[in-house]
Symmetry: C2
Subunit: 254 residues, 2 copies
Amino acid sequence: MQPKMTSAIHSVTAVDEYGQTRTVQVAGEMPLKLFLDECEIVTLMTLGSYPEALAIGYLINQHLIKDLHEIRSLQVNWNMVEVSTFNKDKKINHNTITSGCGRGAVLDTISDILLPNLTIKQSLIYTLLQTLTQQDEIHRQAGGVHACALCHQTEIFAFVEDVGRHNAVDTVTGLMWLHNWASDDKIFYTTGRLTSEIVMKVAHNGIPILLSRSGVTHKGIQIAQTFGMTLIAHAKKQHFLVFNGEKNVIFDAK
Amino acid sequence: MQPKMTSAIHSVTAVDEYGQTRTVQVAGEMPLKLFLDECEIVTLMTLGSYPEALAIGYLINQHLIKDLHEIRSLQVNWNMVEVSTFNKDKKINHNTITSGCGRGAVLDTISDILLPNLTIKQSLIYTLLQTLTQQDEIHRQAGGVHACALCHQTEIFAFVEDVGRHNAVDTVTGLMWLHNWASDDKIFYTTGRLTSEIVMKVAHNGIPILLSRSGVTHKGIQIAQTFGMTLIAHAKKQHFLVFNGEKNVIFDAK
């Protein structure tokens, strides 16, 4: 379990519907500039809690690096991450550097990954939903963030909140790489919508089950089918809908 | 009022928590490749209802073009939009082409816009919230989308749903430019979170009031303060919080 930076929350004043001034909490948001081999790649607007993991997850999920072995050094300076690789001559294709919220071209990279069959009990889905909704400290205090988590059975390996839906996914996968956690026994949870790029990122990291509080797009389902991913959306309280891989869900709860 | 393409909704089967197979509706998502002067800029993952307006809004909000007068031609071909300008020699800075969900560098462009003071009655906020939540056809049927609207008093000039939070904002501002609507008397509504880039885009288009169902980040508030924008978040049913410009809100409802 990673530590969380609650300094990501700011107190501000706001006027409510009664015209009364109230002190409320809002999420922080800072620009994190990412450089790869001295080339400026992107500015990520982030809560800023895990710059290293976010940078690594972003580079891997954008297919700019394949794994950690390509990295010679990584330096975090306040609002800047500089990554240098062993192979500086590799040409960066700027057209691919566009991901986030339906901006991405990662879909162009067709992969031949076939995810392993991992079963999940309905009772585990309920336990996870209950545990995870108790962890969203920043969301509860300040709103304006999405959460992602990486779970094995009832154990939460990582729980990350960020102002960007994609940042939270990138950070959790970055943590997975940094800690060298296995992917094939994990469940990926997100509060965000399962658009194609999110499904693609989770598949690309070899995680066989994806669980979301929110909805899913048609293309998201198609990608899950291609990779053999178990895709569960609209998971809230006692409800959920399995959009792919229902053979992997064990209906053990009444 | 623009027409909506309900063919953006797909019927799929899903298995619910009782193990029962159900037919449910999900939102479509298609890649829209955007070319500017024969240079591939970005692939936008979109519902696809308004490719022309989305392309124009994106280019203006990314500061890649200033206004419609720069455009010589715009061609939409199924999942591709090709825009050519009168000034093809203008160098495209790839580092700026990164926006969406906390990926953007549009914040680097500091603007000297000061938005006009436009007042909004509390009763109008309630009327708009009621009207707008009745329009979200795709969200109600399929989920997985965000909505944005451009309003003058109780009139809804544009209402757009998209799988990308940023796409919906870009499309509505694109429609504003295409129809040559005035911006200084408009209210911009979004179901999405008010992160810095969203606030910046609405300010950049000269719209003085921004209203959201969701939360706001600290940087979003700071940008609203810089531009003199009235920023209202957490607006749902009878509740809302004014984070900036409370002098422009007339509390006329009990």
